[in-house]
């Protein structure tokens, strides 16, 4: 009964007291829609606290520039961005034990460890997807196929940046996932990776917006694409294009929750986080969009997509049944080597001209 009245109160007072909404900065699109449905709305129903989503581009620069005067209370980030932001003092330190509830909870998060300012919330993957129409016969099954234009001719959609593609280049050279970051840390490793990239130089179409690669496949502008698993799933699930995901060589990254240091409602933000980090919240989210939960116990609760009836577990990047090679993204390494890789990437692009 009190819960109902609170909701009523929120509904009545929500509009005029918009400034009191909890502002959550996140990515927008299908991702935000899934968060709204699985986390924001249930949270409001449970506590009466209204939540407003704010879109941003995921960069630390945006956090620095906008969080203060737009009054952000909670932020959804990539784990390496959160690491940089934490080091700059842009985020509040968190007590992981308290937020996750219970001493065994930390074990439940393994291998996605909480860091000083960030709690892992979901797992996405950078994967290779291809257009079924382009390969009616032999289909690519391994990351090597992405660099093999003789067997699999056609354009490749690649993100214009050094993220992911360098790791793939070394995986395609036969380097086991455990050694990829070690080798990419050497000058020799970078040279080898760019050499591999040379072999597809003339077949690359670049993208900048993560929504693009799936469309490039659908519109036949590319036959293979590097992109995020959720986007490809979306394209295939809507029946828009026969896009298939190759799970081999997937680079598993972690999305985290954090609290901007500028918030004046830290306690409310922490309440929200502990709700969002419940296994049930994670499972609801994974039923809507194919991003895996960071808690093992959430897997057991994941069922069918409520709208399409698709069983969602198989589409999650960290689903226990996937074979092939998986690389866990090293966010510290990614954060600390970004400048170097960007520099080398731009130098490689210039060789073109």
């Amino acid at each position: 009964m009190p819960r109902f009245s609170l909701v009523l109160l929120a509904l009545l007072l929500g509009a005029p007291l918009g400034a009191q909404d909890l502002a959550v900065a996140t990515w927008g699109g299908a991702y935000e829609a899934a968060q709204r449905k699985s986390i924001f709305t249930p949270y409001t129903e449970a506590t009466g606290q209204a939540v407003t989503a704010v879109q941003y581009d995921g960069t630390v620069a945006a956090l620095r520039a906008r969080a203060g005067h737009e009054g952000w209370d909670v932020i959804d980030m990539l784990s390496d961005q959160a690491r940089v932001a934490c080091a700059e003092g842009l985020l509040l330190p968190l007590d992981a034990q308290a937020l996750a509830r219970g001493p065994d909870a930390m074990e439940d998060f393994s291998p996605h460890a909480a860091t000083r300012c960030a709690m892992p919330q979901n797992v996405y993957a950078r994967v290779l997807a291809y257009d079924e129409r382009a390969f009616p016969g032999v289909k690519p099954t391994r990351i090597e196929g992405f660099f093999d234009t003789a067997r699999f001719p056609g354009k490749r959609a690649v993100q214009r940046g050094p993220d992911g593609i360098l790791e793939w280049a070394l995986l395609a050279e036969g380097v086991p996932p455990e050694q990829v970051y070690g080798l990419l840390s050497t000058d020799r490793g970078l040279r080898l990776a760019f050499r591999k990239l040379d072999s597809i130089r003339d077949d690359i179409v670049w993208w900048n917006d993560p929504a693009e690669p799936a469309h490039m496949l659908a519109e036949r502008r590319a036959v293979m694409a590097e992109g995020f698993n959720g986007r490809f799933f979306d394209m295939a699930a809507r029946g828009a294009a026969p896009v298939d995901i190759v799970w081999d060589g997937r680079i598993i990254g972690t999305e985290v929750w954090a609290i901007p240091a500028t918030t004046d409602r830290a306690q409310a933000a922490r309440d929200f986080l502990s709700f969002a980090l419940r296994p049930s919240s994670m499972a609801r989210f994974s039923e809507l969009i194919p991003y895996g939960p960071t808690r093992r116990s959430a897997f057991a609760q994941i069922g069918l997509n409520p709208a399409t009836g698709v069983p969602m577990r198989v589409h999650l990047p960290n689903a226990p049944q996937h074979g092939g090679r998986a690389l866990i993204r090293d966010s510290a390494w990614n954060a600390n080597t970004r400048d170097l890789r960007q520099r080398r990437f731009e130098a490689w692009l210039k060789q073109d001209e």
């Binding site: 036969g174 086991p176 455990e178 050694q179 070690g182 840390s185 050497t186 020799r188 490793g189 400048d339």
Partner: protein
């Protein structure tokens, strides 16, 4: 020197239980220790900016990288030198030769304190990027746990040697994630026989190491390689040729390792400063050639990738790694030769492949199989364990085709290096300490037994003034046919017998004559006993009866036979 009498040993059931318990306990302890060792080294490598993955993250502070590259190995070496000097009674790093010596001669290992200091300095050496290997210290660490069993009175014959071998096998099984190789290494290098009594517990210990490494800690195989198979039959000829060439390089490497110790000692008189100087050399080289730092896991992987190195680069890197490893070991850094041997070998393989396929224009099945074949061929020549090396390839790569190819390179390498150098670096190091295994275990065992142990003072001696008639009576009383004539200073002057009078001695042993020498020199000797004199001055010490030498030899043969054929 007596054969272990049956009456003193425990009942078979008890023996079985003791052996199994030993294998499990020593195996588990050695395995956990090996994992801790590896983890500590890798933590130090990350903290001291030795590992590329750590170095690259500080790339925006180039002065820090330069400073760390120069200072870390230098200070590490200084620390190693000081620790050996002030905390270790042996004052040197301990390694596989000490283990072989202890097991073969049924002696205790050097004192535990020296062993622990040696392990600590090995962690420091490897952690600060010295060009040495990690497996030698791990073998010693495993042996250290086995050596502790010596304190237990169990009534099981040969238990000390078996326990040490268990520790060695478990350490290798854990370190390489290769239980079969661990088992074979312990037999091929340490025990040098295959008695069931030893084989069974060593296998149990090796399996224990595997379970701990694989099931509890889930460590991946070290060197997974995809290789579809050898494409051309003639490539096996290339593998054989590669084996021969690698053996020549390995011989050069081992000679350099042996020569570097005395050379560095002549250069720097203070022993504690030597590793620091070698560390500085490593740091200076690493400024231009960062691949030489540490164990070189990344470089090892690059060697299996086509075109990762230019040919000139390969030659420079091979030479630098050979010289720096020899320097580091000669200067007293604590560490083994196996990991550097793997690295040098794989680089030679990559160079050979580049020459054969690039310059020679021969179609091949890719660089990986040449790099891995040469890697194991080089290591096999250095540690003298072809079977172990073949099995390590199999367990490391989990690839049958690559194993067959590597096998060919390994045997040819072993053939050449055994003929031209010796069975292994360890054996030559031991031979220089007077323990020569080149003619087999039994010869080596007899060679360390001095005949002076068998001296009897019952032989009759006569001084210059003793009248012959009295001597004849004493000889008849004692049942001897000869007496040894001494001069006024106690030196042997000749042999007196009642029938022939005084004649020069036909055979004389010196105080350093070994039982093995004695057996050989006694061929065709007629007489009761052989006189033993000091090598300096020729003073008479006593005589050894022919019968005593023969029974000592028989006892020894019996003991060896029992050890090598024991079922339980």
């Amino acid at each position: 020197m007596n054969a272990a009498p049956e009456s003193k040993s425990a009942r078979p059931v008890i023996r079985m239980m003791v052996l199994t318990a030993t294998a499990l306990c020593v195996g588990a302890a050695a395995s956990f220790a090996a994992i801790a060792f590896v983890e500590l080294v890798s933590a130090l490598n990350a903290a001291f900016l030795v590992a590329p993955r750590a170095r690259v993250q500080w790339e925006r502070l180039p002065w820090l990288i330069t400073l760390a590259t120069l200072l870390v190995p230098t200070l590490g070496g200084l620390g190693v030198g000081l620790l050996h000097r002030h905390l270790s009674p042996q004052r040197r790093p301990l390694g596989p030769p000490d283990v072989i010596c202890a097991v073969q001669f049924h002696r205790p290992l050097p004192d535990t304190r020296s062993g622990l200091v040696s392990t600590l300095t090995a962690i420091l050496s490897l952690g600060t990027g010295a060009s040495v290997g990690q497996y030698g210290p791990m073998v010693y660490l495993g042996a250290l746990f086995g050596g502790a069993v010596r304190q237990v009175r169990s009534g099981v014959p040969n238990l000390d040697g078996i326990a040490i071998s268990c520790g060695v096998a478990a350490a290798i099984a854990t370190a390489f994630n290769a239980p079969i190789a661990g088992l074979v290494f312990a037999h091929e290098v340490v025990l040098r026989h295959y008695a069931t009594q030893a084989f069974a517990p060593v296998t149990v210990a090796s399996a224990t190491g595997y379970v701990i490494a694989n099931v509890i800690f889930e460590r991946p195989a070290l060197f997974l390689v995809e290789f579809p198979g050898v494409a051309h039959g003639y490539e096996f000829g290339l593998f054989a040729l590669l084996g021969v060439l690698v053996a020549l390089a390995a011989i050069g490497f081992m000679r350099l390792v042996l020569a570097c110790g005395p050379w560095v000692a002549g250069l720097i008189s203070h022993p504690a400063l030597r590793p620091g100087a070698a560390g500085l050399a490593v740091g200076l080289t690493a400024l231009a050639l960062p691949d030489v730092l540490g164990i070189g896991t990344e470089t090892l992987r690059f060697a299996t990738i086509e075109g990762a190195f230019g040919q000139g680069e390969l030659i420079v890197l091979i030479l630098a790694k050979i010289v720096l490893t020899a320097l580091c070991i000669g200067a007293g850094f604590s560490g083994g030769v196996f990991s550097p041997a793997l690295l040098i070998g794989s680089l030679i393989g990559a160079l050979f492949w580049a020459l054969a396929s690039g310059v020679g224009g021969i179609a091949t099945s890719g660089v990986a199989v040449y790099a891995i074949g040469a890697m194991m061929a080089f290591a096999s020549a250095v540690i003298g364990a072809p079977l172990t090396c073949i099995l390590i390839v199999f367990e490391l790569t989990r690839n049958y085709d690559i194993t067959i190819a590597a096998m060919v390179a390994v045997v040819f390498s072993n053939l050449v290096s055994h003929r031209l150098f010796g069975r292994s670096l360890f054996d030559i190091q031991l031979a220089r300490r007077g323990m020569d295994f080149s003619k087999g275990r039994d010869r080596a065992h007899l060679a360390v037994l001095p005949v002076t142990d068998l001296l009897s003072d019952a032989a009759i001696t006569i001084g210059p003034e003793d009248p012959p008639g009295k001597v004849d009576a004493r000889l008849a009383d004692a049942g001897w046919r000869q007496a040894f004539a001494l001069d006024a200073e106690g030196r042997l002057a000749g042999v007196y017998s009642p029938s022939e009078g005084r004649t020069p001695a036909t055979l004389i042993f010196e105080d350093d004559t070994s039982l093995a020498d004695a057996m050989e020199r006694m061929r065709g000797f007629v007489g009761d006993a052989v006189p033993v004199v000091t090598r300096e001055g020729g003073r008479y010490l006593g005589a050894v009866a022919e019968a005593d030498i023969v029974s000592a030899w028989l006892d020894h043969v019996a003991r060896t036979r029992e050890e090598e054929n024991a079922a339980l």
